[in-house]
């Protein structure tokens, strides 16, 4: 586990990419890990063709959850929303590039879970939480 904290992970933790809020997000979702209190919000700007044009995330959490979420936002830029909705956990595992212990898997997947619920909610036409 101590191998996990490589420079690029710490860089994403301390300088998270796409961190903040969008003025008028098309889709958004938020969730927390009730065991540890980590909390992440994802906001998406989708164009008429269903492509992700902008993404912002916010919240607080450990290096694993924040770095995973930060890298995830870079991965989905320009991606069709339908593909975002179908993302598997492999995208996170490939991004972090090193094994995550079972006890921390929930941290790593928090951002993905929030992102997917925003995408799936938007595709299904569920009422936005706003």
């Amino acid at each position: 586990m101590d191998d996990f904290y490589r420079d690029y992970i710490l860089d994403h933790y301390r300088n998270p990419r796409n961190f903040g809020h969008l003025d008028a997000p098309t889709a958004s979702a938020e969730d927390l890990n009730p065991l540890c209190g980590d909390q992440i919000r994802m906001e998406l700007q989708i164009d008429d063709g269903g492509i992700v044009r902008a993404v912002r995330f916010s919240g607080n959490g450990c290096a694993i959850s924040l770095a995973s979420a930060s890298m995830l936002t870079e991965s989905i830029s320009g991606m069709p929303l339908e593909d975002v909705a179908k993302l598997s956990k492999d995208v996170v595992l490939e991004n972090v590039g090193i094994g995550i212990s079972p006890t921390r898997m929930k941290c790593a997947m928090l951002g993905l879970r929030v992102l997917k619920s925003a995408a799936i909610g938007e595709l299904a036409g569920w009422p936005d939480e706003e």
């Binding site: 101590d2 540890c36 209190g37 959490g61 290096a63 212990s101």
Partner: protein, 415 residues
């Protein structure tokens, strides 16, 4: 520094705990600093469980055969041991699953019949969820209102407004020792004033029964709740002390077998306390082993336990102070005379979970998160803290291992 003889005693104590003979999966010595969550178990407790199941497993209070009589005698003898340990009579000790269930028992059996709309229930801002949520639900059921004794930024209770808070107060429920900050509540100040105001007094003893000499009569508590698993005993068994007259006046909590005197198709009469509150087959083995845990603690001496933890907390504060330049910040009163063996801290901008993960690689077990005190964390402005807690088997070398592992975390995170 601890006196050498004291440290040697702690190291001898550690030999009584089989778990410490096993290395971690990474081949490290197990450095267990999470006793506020649950304690380790000495061999005598483990053997008591084994002995019951091998030699005299039988249901209690009804069998006429030899092993049933032995089980019943051991079960009630354990109740007497636990009662003696906190200065109570055996008839005032109700077995529960844990502290949480004991508090729920009070909230339902006593609260539903004694708390009315407009009554005040006084808690503190540092309560564990288990001494908060049952009262929130009682307030919702009855129309009572919750009030809170505030904490200052050091985690000390602020008593300036206590008399106003106690005005119209039906119930005071308060942690004896904070599980997050280690703060010892000044019950000697608060309880007499609550008594004078006419409040019924509940003390959450989950973090005090294991660590401090406790006498429920001297505390003048009406109820005192505690768990075996935090005091060297098994999980799944706890105890509620209640003053005899209160227990007699209360209706049952759960109902069914063993808690009745006579049953007809349309009505029933109930057993005397404490059995009135023990519906169904009890957790027999674990209750008996709780008695063994209490024997073990009695032999160590609660005063020695307290002094040992005070000394090791003082040593930890001294060692951790050396990490302050690297951003280590310890929360809470920071006075070993005013805290139990619990230290909450953060390391610079490193999240507590990351600290705990790195410490784990060195065999050091600590807690990270909100410690079931989410409102306290929010009030203090902390997302999470790391928490190290000490008990009878911890020695200076455990603190040294903690500090070394924290230095590793600081190195990895470049702080």
């Amino acid at each position: 520094m601890l006196r050498p003889s004291e440290m040697q005693k702690a190291l001898r104590v550690r030999d009584d705990f089989p778990i410490f003979t096993r290395p971690t999966a990474r081949g490290k010595r197990l450095v267990y600093l999470d006793s506020a969550a649950t304690s380790q178990k000495p061999l005598c407790v483990i053997e008591t469980l084994d002995e019951y199941y091998r030699e005299y497993n039988a249901n209690i209070h009804r069998g006429v055969y030899e092993i049933a009589a032995r089980a019943t005698a051991a079960f009630e003898e354990a109740r007497a041991k636990v009662a003696r340990f906190v200065g109570a009579d055996p008839g005032e000790i109700v077995w529960t699953r844990n502290t949480t269930e004991a508090i729920n028992l009070i909230a339902y059996a006593w609260g539903n019949t004694n708390v009315r709309a407009g009554d005040a229930i006084l808690l503190t801002e540092l309560e564990h969820h288990s001494n908060l949520v049952p009262w929130q639900l009682l307030a919702q059921r009855t129309g009572a209102v919750l009030r809170f004794i505030p904490v200052d930024k050091n985690g000390t209770l602020v008593l300036d407004d206590l008399d106003r808070l106690l005005d119209g107060c039906r119930l005071l429920s308060i942690a004896h020792v904070s599980n997050t900050l280690g703060t010892i509540s000044p019950l000697e100040t608060i309880v007499p004033r609550a008594r004078a105001a006419g409040a019924t007094i509940v003390v959450d003893g989950a973090q005090s029964a294991p660590h401090l000499p406790v006498d429920v009569k001297a505390l003048d508590a009406d109820f005192y709740a505690f768990s075996a698993h935090k005091m060297l005993g098994p999980t799944g068994i706890g105890a509620l002390y209640g003053k005899r007259a209160l227990l007699e006046s209360m209706p049952p909590f759960l109902s069914g077998g063993d808690m009745i005197r006579a049953v007809e198709y349309d009505r029933a009469t109930f057993n005397d306390p404490p059995w009135k509150f023990e519906a169904g087959t009890s957790n027999i083995a674990d209750a008996i082993a709780f008695g063994t845990a209490v024997d073990y603690l009695t032999e160590l001496g609660p005063a020695w336990v307290r002094e040992h933890e005070r000394a090791i907390t003082a040593y930890a504060l001294e060692r951790l102070a050396a990490l302050e330049p690297r951003g280590l910040h310890v929360y809470g009163p920071k006075d070993p005379a005013k805290t139990g063996g619990v230290l909450s801290f953060n390391l610079a901008d490193v999240h507590a979970h990351d600290v705990a993960s790195i410490l784990d690689t060195e065999g050091v077990c600590i807690r990270a998160g909100h410690h079931c005190t989410m409102p306290l964390m929010r009030k203090m402005g902390w997302h999470s803290t790391a928490r190290a807690s000490f008990y009878v088997y911890n020695a200076e070398e455990d603190v040294d291992a903690l500090v070394t592992a924290l230095e590793k975390a600081a190195h990895i995170f470049k702080v």
